[in-house]
Symmetry: none
Subunit: 208 residues, 4 copies
């Protein structure tokens, strides 16, 4: 075990590789068979190792799932952060935020499915008040609130509570995942256009 072998938290290359592989297999397992049936046996099978070996790399199931969560969140944040950074003004940033998010969802269905499943299970099991989730929400919402606030400061956006609006935008995006499962041939381009337009109307300053 990590903690036993290297108290300084160092990890060997092989260990890191296995962890990454296990994270990947877990994502696929959860996306395909759901949280409930994504047992360690199933994950090990996909990774081509034994159940027991998992415990060499992760203290327990929870630690593995947490790593999955952190990995997906980080990955997603990077994916979207880059696109937004290139924009000229907050209005363009908001549009880029929506577009890059939906694009990510469209091109990372397994990841999104796994993410939603894990998040649900967390909200579920610990009554929603879990540290990880809280920070996740905060972390993911802050950049969006920043965009909105700067937009208001620059006179591009009208007056509204940035938190409520940020949450609504986030919710509109997060609702796409489940819908995609139900309606696999959903027209995402159209959806994107409509959403961009909707939040444009909802946020833009109306000149007197």
């Amino acid at each position: 075990m990590r903690s036993e072998k290297s108290p300084d938290g160092q990890r060997t290359f092989v260990d890191a590789a296995r962890r990454a592989q296990l994270v990947r297999c877990t994502v696929e397992a959860i996306a395909e068979v759901g949280m409930r049936k994504a047992s360690l046996a199933e994950i090990a099978r996909r990774a081509g190792i034994t159940k027991g070996a998992i415990f060499y790399h992760f203290a327990n199931r929870e630690e593995l799932v947490n790593e999955v969560l952190v990995t997906l969140l980080t990955e997603g944040a990077r994916y979207m952060g880059e696109r937004i950074a290139e924009q000229a003004d907050p209005a363009a940033e908001l549009r880029a935020y929506l577009e890059s998010n939906i694009d990510y969802i469209a091109t990372h269905r397994a990841e999104v499915a796994a993410l939603v499943a894990i998040a649900m299970n967390h909200t579920d099991e610990r009554g929603g008040a879990r540290e990880v989730d809280a920070s996740v929400y905060g972390e993911s919402l802050r950049p969006l609130e920043d965009i909105l606030r700067r937009g208001q400061e620059q006179g591009l956006f009208c007056a509204f509570d940035t938190r409520t609006t940020a949450m609504t935008i986030r919710a509109a995006i997060d609702a796409i995942g489940p819908q995609l499962s139900a309606i696999p041939d959903l027209d995402l381009d159209r959806y994107t256009t409509e959403l961009v337009a909707l939040f444009d109307r909802a946020t833009k300053r109306v000149p007197a």
Copy 2:
């Protein structure tokens, strides 16, 4: 019950009461400890009876959960339908829709938590394309789309895709539940006001 008794579906008073009690206990159990840990043992414990007794009243776990689902949905639909029916025009209806939904969520936290948990588990286990869920979504979205379409026909609302907009409104509402768990002292009145304003801006027709 049911399977052991007369096929005419007759139910005694005691049976109906126990079923209702079990539904209530199941809602509370799911809301408090989550779907996964809301075992029949846990539910029976809360109801003060034995596991075996549950099977006297329900054929299996699924039947119990289904009854919970139907009960909550029916209850919710009645709660909100009444308020919306009294409104004068689609714009007022949309406001009433938002207000009554958020009000319901605020005053029925356990029910909403249970509903979300059950819905998630369904999406999870059957790959998201389950009849019940599909109809649930459709059923809950249709009245909202109706309001939006009528608003457009009467020239009150601007041009937009009613389905996308309805889904966004729904998503904004559904996001409140999880947030409430994370931030128990969320100011719901403010949230409501903001949301009403946001979707008012997003939908109203701007005179030339």
Copy 3:
């Protein structure tokens, strides 16, 4: 309960009727769904009463099954005894024994199926050394041995151990039930003729 109400073992008419009805329903249940799934609930369902009521007429499941056993055995013995009594000599009686037995099996499939299932379960559960079964075997074998012995005394049959031969005849008959289940369109007339001929050759005295 019988024993509580009438220590003299008297039974009311209604009680006797219900017992008979329950015996009949049990036979059908066992024949159709097998011993394992012929639960008291299933039997009660077929009788149109509740599980609890069964315990008014029978102390427990075992007593009910025993009554079924005794009833079927008695019924069968009467059915065959009559035909055999009419015969002129032991050779004719042996033929009549075979014919009436096979005929009974052909016309009482449910009864035979139930009988076999119950017998098996008994042999099964108590290691085969149960009083009922022992007597059953003895009772059913004695008349057959009598026929064989008289045949030998009258010089119609050759020398052989009557017990072994009786058992073989019985076994040949008892094997028909299971075969009928496997091969429903078995030609029983042919089977009868062959069996009669076989045991005729095996028992008849060959003149010097």
Copy 4:
């Protein structure tokens, strides 16, 4: 095992040993307490392991019971096949068939008891028409019919339906198991001699 491991069906030595041990314990359990009470808990207790361990080696109860069935059938077939192969003519083969079968029953009481119990339960639960059973019966009857047919072709046996006769011989043998349970001190040598003589008379050609 099996489901958790490599699909090439590889088995370790320990696994094979445990499987064999579990098969043995299952045979004994069924022979002693009957199919109904031979629960996995009982079998595990006899094997000195936990219930859970059984599922490591067998996917489920059915797979375990099937392995028992196949093992016993194979064992029995080998035991008897050898003796019959050495015989000079069909009449001697028939005698060897009877003798080796009865000998097997005498020396493998638990195996025979278990075999009968399992077979019965199968007939019982699936309405008698199960593939396994059908093939079992066919497989076990065919060699016997072969002997009889060859005997007829060689003019050693008289005219009779080989199927009916084979079944009768089989039934006479199969009846010994239950009798042994009921009458533990049955004189099997005598029984064998009598049976051989009986079927000799019943099958041999009587010269004109």
